[in-house]
């Protein structure tokens, strides 16, 4: 994807990690650059931006990736409420496990709630599903986390447990401190898991790979 914000399709993400994970996966799956990834720098900003993108001239597709965090249903309700004034009537139905894609006749909107549209959690939970089955370090990292939690030595909150886990695991790889996106590129993480393929299917379907349209310039 590109840094220049000129395409008519936008993918809004919460942060830099989300952005680079998407970009790395796109590279692995050879997904064409049909959309801009917009790092909204926080979920509040992302929700504020959605109604604005609906109004900007020449935007035909808006995709959103957010974390479910501790309450998937609340996230989904927030998004449904943002869609209501824009004529997406079918958004009243539930969120499919395969990610949501709906249209209002003018624009297409898609949402994927991390990790899998079905459980609470975040990007890091999605990432932990990409750890290869043969991996021997993840169970150890898990055990250690439980140990320090039992001794109440952990400084992270329960919400961020999966974040702590995946970054612990990453610290034990060939190059400690590799960021999430790069760890896909460097093949620490496998991109062939079922959830990942589901995600890619949602992404390619939303940003219909056959149509690359530059945003009309004034």
């Amino acid at each position: 994807m590109t840094e220049q914000k000129t395409l008519s399709k936008k993918l809004l993400v919460e942060g830099n990690d989300d952005k680079h994970v998407v970009l790395a996966l796109c590279k692995k799956y050879a997904i064409a650059e049909t959309f801009d990834v917009v790092d909204c720098k926080g979920i509040e900003n992302l929700f504020e931006q959605i109604p604005i993108w609906f109004k900007i001239s020449g935007i035909d597709t808006i995709g959103v990736i957010v974390d479910a965090d501790i309450d998937l249903n609340t996230r989904w309700d927030t998004i449904k409420n943002l869609l209501k004034p824009h004529g997406f009537s079918s958004a009243t139905e539930g969120l499919p496990d395969t990610g949501l894609i709906i249209g209002n006749g003018i624009q297409t909107f898609g949402v994927w709630i991390m990790p899998n549209n079905n459980t609470n959690g975040m990007l890091e939970d999605f990432i932990s599903l990409l750890v290869p089955d043969s991996d021997k370090l993840l169970p150890i990292a898990n055990t250690i986390l439980k140990e320090i939690e039992e001794k109440k030595l952990n400084l992270y909150s329960k919400t961020h447990q999966s974040k702590a886990l995946i970054h612990t695991w990453l610290a034990w790889q060939e190059n400690p401190g590799t960021p999430l996106g790069l760890s896909i590129t460097k093949k620490y993480l496998s991109h062939n898991s079922a959830v990942c393929e589901q995600f890619i299917e949602w992404l390619t379907k939303l940003f219909d790979q056959n149509t690359i349209s530059p945003c009309p310039q004034e």
Binding site: K5, C40, K41, N45, E48, Q49, P51, I52, W53, K55, I56, S57, G58, E218
Partner: protein
């Protein structure tokens, strides 16, 4: 101040409903989306349907087909030319006695047409001679229903209506606006700055209105955006109609003609003189960015914001320029005390139908803070 806007059947605006307006309203959109038409409609509204303004607007678009020959005695030709001219104001140039005509004004609560609004339309009328109880004979023009086909001997007139106030103007004269037909209420103060009018004559008069008052200082302050050493300005010349603006700079002994200093400062002068002459009224500004480098646009917006607040002026400006929108957003964001409310309205031409998209003040500020380019 208008807090909403409803325009129907006016030029290319078939039906525009803007639910809320701010103190400062910036209208954007591509060519032929009706940006200038909105300003024209607002001028007609503010003037309470001033018929000479209607002709002035037609004239500026080259649509006033009034005959040049004063010797022409053919009334029919006058009527035809007046109809041809005035029909240019109507959506699709449709002249019909049946439709509701042009409507301009506020949206009422149920989003329908409010009675206080301005209504312009063609009407059929007959001249009626009546005798009063006192035996006086008088004539009056009596409008007849548009679908009345039994009356064949009718004339065609132009009706201007606001609430219960109605005037009916016959079109059988050359330049019919020159005759007084009364009005439908007191107009409000407004100034309309067209795309490229740096009009020496008008500016001179506007300056006379405010010279030696507190407002003169606002003018100097605005000119300093472009020329920081500006000390004073004046309009000089023997002939009152041909006076030119001159400027005194702090580092020079001689005064300079303002013309010699480029388009930017002249544009700022025109805008600011219009502004200080519209207290408690409206400033209508077509193509804000004309002649202005992007670096000065934010500063000019800041002065407009300040004067809009202190002189109670509602501002409507149009623009093609993303720099202008950015300057507007930044000025709005910097206005820490939220002194004025701002609104961005984009007009889209979708297969010939003009639609509006409204950005609220909150949305403008979010977009500006999060680097989203609104267009």
């Amino acid at each position: 101040m208008l807090d909403s806007l409803f325009i129907k059947n006016f030029r290319n605006l078939e039906n525009i409903k803007i639910a809320s307006l701010g103190n400062i309203n910036l209208i954007t959109g591509k060519n032929n989306t009706g940006k200038s038409s909105i300003l024209e409609a607002l001028a007609i509204y503010a003037s309470r349907g001033d018929f000479s303004l209607v002709y002035q607007l037609l004239h500026q678009r080259g649509e006033d087909y009034s005959l040049n020959s004063y010797n022409n005695k053919d009334i029919k030709e006058y009527v035809e030319n007046n109809i041809r001219s005035l029909s240019a104001m109507f959506n699709g140039r449709k002249v019909s006695f049946l439709n509701e005509g042009i409507q301009i004004g506020l949206l009422s609560e149920d989003l329908s047409f409010s009675k206080k609004n301005i209504n312009l339309r063609f009407v059929k009328y007959i001249d009626e001679v009546q005798k009063s109880d006192q035996g006086e004979i008088f004539r009056r023009r009596l409008a007849i229903a548009g679908n009345n086909n039994t009356e064949t001997n009718f004339n065609i007139g132009f009706e201007i209506k606001s609430g219960d106030e109605v005037i009916l103007i016959p079109l059988d004269k050359n330049k019919p606006y020159r005759l007084g037909y009364g009005d439908v209420g007191n107009g409000e103060k407004y100034q309309f700055i067209r795309t490229a009018n740096i009009d020496k004559d008008i500016n001179g008069k506007l300056f006379d209105n405010i010279a030696l008052t507190d407002k003169e200082q606002f003018v100097i302050e605005a000119l300093k955006i472009i020329e920081p050493t500006t000390e004073r300005i004046a309009f000089v010349g023997e002939n009152p109609r041909e006076r030119i603006a001159v400027i005194k700079l702090s580092n020079a002994t001689e005064v300079l003609p303002l013309r010699s200093m480029g388009d930017g400062i002249n544009r700022v002068l025109t805008i600011i003189l219009a502004l200080v002459n519209s207290d408690n009224g409206y400033l209508l500004l077509d193509e804000f960015e004309n002649g202005l480098h992007y670096s000065v646009q934010k500063s000019l917006w800041q002065i407009i914001f300040k004067l809009s607040k202190s002189l109670n002026i509602q501002v409507f400006a149009t623009t093609h320029s993303n720099d202008c929108i950015l300057g507007f957003e930044r000025a709005l964001n910097d206005d820490a005390n939220q002194q004025v409310s701002g609104k961005l309205i984009r007009l889209d031409n979708i297969n010939g139908i003009i639609k509006q998209v409204e950005f609220s003040q909150k949305e403008i500020m979010i977009a500006n803070n999060q680097d989203i380019e609104i267009r």
